[in-house]
């Protein structure tokens, strides 16, 4: 497995990014990582990794896109940026996967520009995994496509189903459509038309209809389909509410407990470890011909290590081949075509 890692991407790059790569190759003897970025900044962090140095390459480039830059403008103005170089390595089949904690918009735009799409895919979508009372569920799209058509959302259902089967190990994934109420006629036109597509498709038996915001964490389904605007907001609201209640619970418990205060702190720390969005292994951009994992901007060593492991799992499961098969088997049967 050969992965290109954007060494310049994210709030803490390049130190913890390189450290994550070192840990990943230490754990997985089959893994080779190409660190893409400024060689002078990367090399010092590799000094301690002599034992695995032969599986850590550096692909030097002179530019990096910051988190604040406008993706399309930055990609044009900085042709030698680390994100574009990652995509280039993927397009040239020099790597099987690319991973970045950098500017998400630039990462997505880089892929759209190359149109490196799987056969039959209209628009790639980012799939985020969320915890629920009944195990993980996948929400997509969380930000690649803020103006999707119903047909795009339908394909997110197909791709999300394959992801839930292969990566989350769900036997027969149920699909829900994010909406503002459970009744069929709820919501805007996009929701109503997407509903019709699912009901007329070969996935109809797995489609449970509308799900509301409060249903996500209940685990009512395994795949939740929505547009990139709503999905992105939902993902970040989950993160914000989690942080908020961890702070509030900590304060409240600190005030209430005495001798067992440290035990309570340990319990809350366990929750943080289990659910913290910063620690997650990144979200795949599904629909790409290749593997593309997008990490949280605040990713450090452990998150990058996890993301590299997720990319490897993705390849082993042959997810892309299965997505292409399933898109052929579950075509869009109704609704308006572009």
């Amino acid at each position: 497995m050969h992965i290109a890692l954007d060494a310049m991407g994210g709030d803490y790059a390049p130190g913890p990014i390189v450290a994550g790569a070192i840990r990943a190759v230490q754990k997985d003897a089959e893994l080779r990582v190409v660190l893409v970025g400024d060689q002078a900044q990367i090399e010092p962090h590799l000094a301690q990794a002599q034992a695995v140095r032969d599986r850590l390459d550096v692909f030097h480039c002179t530019q990096a896109i910051t988190m604040e830059e406008t993706p399309v403008v930055a990609l044009r103005k900085k042709p030698d940026n680390s994100i574009s170089r990652c995509w280039q390595l993927l397009a040239e089949r020099k790597v099987e996967a690319i991973v970045s904690a950098g500017n998400t918009g630039a990462m997505v735009a880089g892929g759209l520009r190359l149109r490196l799409f799987l056969k039959g895919v209209r628009r790639p979508g980012i799939a985020a995994t969320l915890p629920t009372l009944k195990g993980p569920c996948v929400l997509l799209d969380v930000g690649a496509n803020v103006n999707p058509k119903p047909e795009d959302l339908f394909q997110y259902g197909v791709m999300g189903t394959m992801y839930a089967k292969q990566i989350l190990k769900k036997d027969k994934p149920l699909i829900g459509l994010m909406n503002v109420g459970s009744e069929e006629q709820k919501g805007h036109d996009l929701a109503k038309e997407t509903q019709t597509l699912f009901k007329n498709s070969s996935l109809k038996d797995n489609f449970i209809g509308n799900v509301e915001g409060r249903d996500i964490t209940k685990g009512v389904c395994d795949v939740i389909v929505t547009d990139g605007f709503v999905g992105n907001v939902v993902l970040k609201v989950c993160e914000g509410v989690f942080d908020f209640f961890m702070k509030m619970a900590g304060k409240e418990l600190l005030g209430a407990l005495d001798k067992e205060k440290h035990l309570a702190e340990g319990a809350l720390q366990n929750l943080v470890k289990r659910y913290d969005y910063h620690e997650h292994g990144g979200a795949p951009l599904l629909g790409i011909d290749g593997i593309c994992i997008i990490c949280h901007g605040s990713s450090k060593e452990r998150a990058i290590e996890n993301a590299l492991a997720v990319a490897a799992k993705h390849a082993q499961a042959q997810l892309n081949a299965l997505i292409v098969q399933e898109l052929e088997a579950s075509p869009v049967l109704a609704g308006t075509e572009e």
Copy 2:
């Protein structure tokens, strides 16, 4: 203060709804409540309230809209339903406010049908109050208008500002626009055009630009403007994540603690009391000529009591007169008109 309360609305109606009304009039000697609904079902719950019975009237009607019914269809098929009767009492100025925990869509549609709007208001919006690290903030719209125009969102900013000033007691409320990133050019057309409207308006000094999902609970601003689809999803996601983490934290602490387990349980109970969305006093439909408070479907006694108190506060603050003034003072200055 005279309020019509939909006695048939909500998952637990009519018992806890009537009980909430009794408690509210017991606490506020100026309050009169008209219980709107089936007299035969309401009367038994009033038996214990002889001391305040003279300030609790019953307005009999024969029909009720269920939570699952399609709002527009139900309003047409059931002309004598409790929600329409509440609106009628408001339109006839027999009450100053109406409160319901029933079908939100029917409540909104009932108001839109009457076009009982404040002067200058394009479309009413539901304003929900959310907890943040820096005190409450108001999010609107959370479900009245899933297809708004930029001008509607701008007015939500104006109305939300007056709400934050008068009800949340914020001195100089800051307004943020819900979006998928902090950079100006982020998001869909609705977001971009709304951004332009705020920047060219007399509210520009209070407008902080885009806010992301994770910013809400940080309290970066006092008023968050969004469309009814996103707002509704956000509100319900907050609720779901809250429930999820309360369950998880309870389990984790139960496993970790010994002698002080009961203290931890008490601390978590305090959090639930403070933040539980089911206990909140309802959300006003702003922009209505009159006061309209929409409660959570799961509202019980305490939530209804709170909602009636909120309606009274609303009237005392003369919020509506101030909204009309502010809409005149802060007109939409740029962008496309319908």
